[in-house]
């Protein structure tokens, strides 16, 4: 795995702001409106954020695992 230089031009900060705003807005509306409960636990207020965070963590873990298993090589098959 390469030691990459940090992103240039504050794009990471911009992405952070974008994501934070989206998450905050979404969670605020979900909890603030007092919407009726979903048809299962995954559709309850706040569950979408947990699903999203879980998906991101799973992506990172999958990438890390793939690197460990397949190592640094030339290309994909």
């Amino acid at each position: 795995m390469s030691k990459a230089a940090p992103p240039r031009g504050g794009v990471a900060g911009l992405a952070l702001l974008f994501c934070f705003t989206a998450a905050a807005l979404g969670l605020a509306f979900e909890f603030g409106l007092g919407a009726p409960g979903g048809f299962w636990i995954g559709a309850q207020p706040g569950a979408a954020a947990i699903i999203g965070a879980g998906a991101a963590i799973a992506c990172a873990l999958a990438a890390r695992l793939a690197h460990l298993v397949f190592g640094k090589r030339d290309g994909d098959v």
Binding site: S2, P7, A12, A15, E30, L33, G42, A47, G52, A56
Partner: protein
Amino acid sequence: MFEVVLNPGFVPILAGLIVLAAPRIVRGPIMAIAALAALWLLLENDFGAAATMRQMGVETVPLDLDALNRIFGIAMLILLIAMAIYAGARRNRYEDAAILMLAGGAVSALFVGDLVSLVAAVALSGLAAAWIVFASPLEGARFAGVRLLIWHGLEGLLFLIGVALHLTATAGNSKFVRLDAGSISGACMFAALLLRIGAPFAHVWLKDVISHASAAGGAALSAFSTMLGVYALARLFPAEPVLAPIGAAMIVVGLVFAAITDDLRRAGAYALTAQTGICVALIGEGSPLSLAAAEGHAFATLLAFAALQMTLGAMLERAGVRRVSELTGVARAMPITSFLHFAAALACAATPGFALYATQAVALEATAHWEQRWLWLLIALTSAVLFVVLALRPTLAAHRAAPPRPFHEAPFPMMLGSALATFLCFTIGLAPNWLYALMPTALAFQPYEIERLAPQLAMLGAAGLAYLALRGVGLAPASLPARTLDVDAFYRGPVASAGQWAGVLLLRAYGAWQAAVTRAGYAAGRTLDRLSRLWDRPFAPVRMTAATQFLVIGAFLLTILLFR
């Protein structure tokens, strides 16, 4: 009275023949005019079978328009206009012709009304797809084209067997009816369509050909190949229960490989497999709302992923980059293309404001039942994973600090074509009622109600925050320089190489065994020959030979006496 029935798909096919002989300057306009003419033919005709004719004793229906094929046809033909603009930057007349043939074959297959014509049109689109790959200048494209021919040959064979059995069983009636996947004919056609959509274990052909096709070819293959299979499933096997788990498996396989693949065009192909899986699972669910959601989702997927492949192709064409690990500094050299890529990736991730969000909201509504909660979860997960994989990861890599790169923006026609496709996603996403009105089931749906919008915003935002946090602490790798293995590793790649070596070793062992047996045979023959020659001369002056003869004959007689 003589009546000419022109399937809208015939127009791009004819245009494909014309562009083979046309100069470069008019090839783009011919493609665009062909798409517009086909669109006009599609919108001008009324619903219903226009005419039937008999071909070799079988009744065929060259044009049968309804709401189901209209929505797919509009998507493909609108996209062909964007492709015409995009392809203006290149000089390959064969590829232009192949793209038109592929689009024409796919659109023809949408609008025919019988199985025989469907097989013919699907076969034409398969051949054109292989031609696109053969026309690519990238390394390994010829082999990828041959592999695609094998896949499509298998698909065509299964289709032909299925149709032949169906014709036998129905006394030559080849008109579309709902088929039973449990019958032999239905199972053959079902299997052929599973190959076409890229079901698990057959999903590898799509990423193989997209990654080996040229910039325009990759976008065309992304748009006109798998969605034809989705249409055919919706037409021939609606509410087939086994489609739901197959679609779910496609989502899982697509997302996992998209997450670990470094090559962005392959990641896009895997992501397309995941979104196609959503359409397939919804067709399997079979309720009117699910079917409407599947058709709308196919429409939006087609546009969004073609836009994504166009922007990735533009980067490949100008800068030669295709991997996340090679993107460093690209945003500085190609800011407009990078922005277009980010917008197309947001469209693919069902970000609110884009068409895929509007159709994913319908899909979530259709699966919001206790029995289908796992499918609901997979559909919801898809957008979060694709947001991280297709939008965030490449954008962060492209903005990494680097010395100035020796290239500039993508060619203008490429940027214009990509922008048009992304713009279409955006406009349809902002005003989705137009798309809902096209669906076969009348749909009064408000995707931007706060109860639907808020969870999507929260999910994408939380996914982004979690990924950025993991990147910040170094747990999420910035690039993925790993060689991923998929099912096709069994027929190419390291597993196939190991198999080849094992085969060579086995062949050598077999050769050595054969040589040893031959030598032993020769030796035994020589010994017997010598013995027989000696026995033929009983008075030869060798005592041992006479003694041997005596012993052998004695043993023979003793054996007979003892065991008789």
